[in-house]
């Protein structure tokens, strides 16, 4: 099967600091890839490169055959296909939950207000906060805000979802509801790249795992195999620490 997201020898620097040092990764349609690794190893940066929020210096990133780092690529159009969920949920504070989700369908896709609201209500119900339509984000719990962020991304009907430590900023008791939502998406067949410190999620939900170490993919393979029998010494140490 052809990869729908593919990174080939991707290099990325911030000034003199090289953060990605030749990343190769493939994600196939319907696959869930978990990306694990120590803080600062370049996981977030890689996600930002995949939807073109950060430019790369070398290599190629293709999404559905479109070269992300090609100057002629319409990134705004490409990003409609790639939903992204952040560690800090980044809900728009001046809009209600419904408006948060309806905004992009309306202004980016050009849907009418009522059509956008209909989609928004549907997605909010989908992630289990259909009773919070008129609530402002400030009045929602962290877990609810993160589910709002997921609904906001889903409302654009993306083919792919990128999760950047979606549960890391949450109080422990709220982690479960967000992980459940992500699990639900995976079971619906969504293609996902999930940066996470939740090893349980990585093992049970993802098809593949990639371990980042200092800007490189040090080990990758089927999730259960890699996590139960890590070969790299760095990964063994990393797993010992997070457990």
């Amino acid at each position: 099967m052809a990869a729908v997201i593919e990174l080939k020898n991707v290099r990325k620097s911030f000034g003199d600091l090289e953060v990605l040092k030749g990343i190769d990764l493939k994600v196939e349609n319907g696959e869930v890839l978990s990306v694990i690794g120590a803080s600062g190893s370049g996981k977030s940066t890689m996600l930002y490169c995949i939807n073109g929020l950060e430019p790369i210096q070398d290599g190629t990133i293709t999404v559905e055959g479109t070269v992300v780092n090609d100057k002629s690529t319409n990134l705004n159009k490409l990003r409609q296909k790639i939903g992204m969920v952040f560690q800090q949920w980044n809900s728009f504070p001046h809009l209600t939950a419904l408006e948060n989700v309806a905004l992009a369908p309306r202004v980016v896709k050009g849907l009418s207000r009522s059509a956008a609201k209909e989609i928004a209500a549907k997605q909010l119900a989908h992630v289990g906060i259909g009773d919070k339509l008129d609530v402002y984000p400030g009045a929602l719990s962290g877990g609810q805000q993160q589910r709002l962020a997921i609904a906001r991304a889903l409302a654009m009907e993306p083919s792919y979802m990128l999760f950047d430590e979606a549960t890391s900023a949450l109080d422990p008791e709220l982690v479960g509801e967000v992980l459940d939502t992500m699990r639900m998406l995976a079971s619906e067949g969504m293609t996902m790249i999930v940066v996470t410190h939740e090893m349980g999620f990585a093992r049970d939900v993802s098809d593949k795992v990639a371990f980042f170490h200092e800007g490189k993919v040090e080990e990758t393979g089927p999730a259960k195999a890699v996590l139960s029998a890590p070969k790299s010494g760095h990964l063994q140490k990393f797993l010992a620490k997070v457990h």
Partner: protein, 220 residues
Amino acid sequence: MDPAGNAFTDLSWVDLLFLGEAAIRTLQISAVSIFVGTVLGIILGWMLAAGNIVVRLLVNSLLDVFRSVPLIIQLILFDSFVSIAGFPMPAFWSGTIVLSVYTAALVAMVARAGIEAVEPGLRRAARSLGMGYWQDMRYVVWPVGIRAVFPSWIGVALSVLKDSALVSAIGYIELLRASQILTTKTQESFKIMLLVGLFYFLMSYPISKAGDFIEKKWQQ
């Protein structure tokens, strides 16, 4: 009720009308300057927040000039300059131009602070949804930023309203100048100043109340 009642017997209706007209002129020159200065200031503030180092340096030094030279001197300098240069203009226009630029210099700082108050994460989220740069500006940066700095902008508007009194220095007959003329004529300086103070208050108070109201509305 007769507003010129017992306390103001020495001031005629004509005098009061004269003051009232001057108050309207103060409002006019302030309103135009605040409007033009705000539009200009937002553009400059955006250049400060989003421009490269050269743009920022240029705009900042330019604004430093307008922020550090006292307004009254800017007014007199500009007014004399246009006369000497052979384009004399009515005091209303030279006053409005100088007051607008002065307002723009103040608003630029407010606008920059507003843009910078918007968390980068919010903007990344907007862009990740497929919004373009200007959509992010319009639907995220503007509404979030304006809520953060609206009180400062109201402050600028109120101070421009008061500072418009300095346009009297180039002969524009606004509220302060009108009161000076009346004082010379009637020798009723205390009563006149009391009235003028009341006029300024009546103009400022609704603005600050409206500001409070809008702020409350946003604070839910």
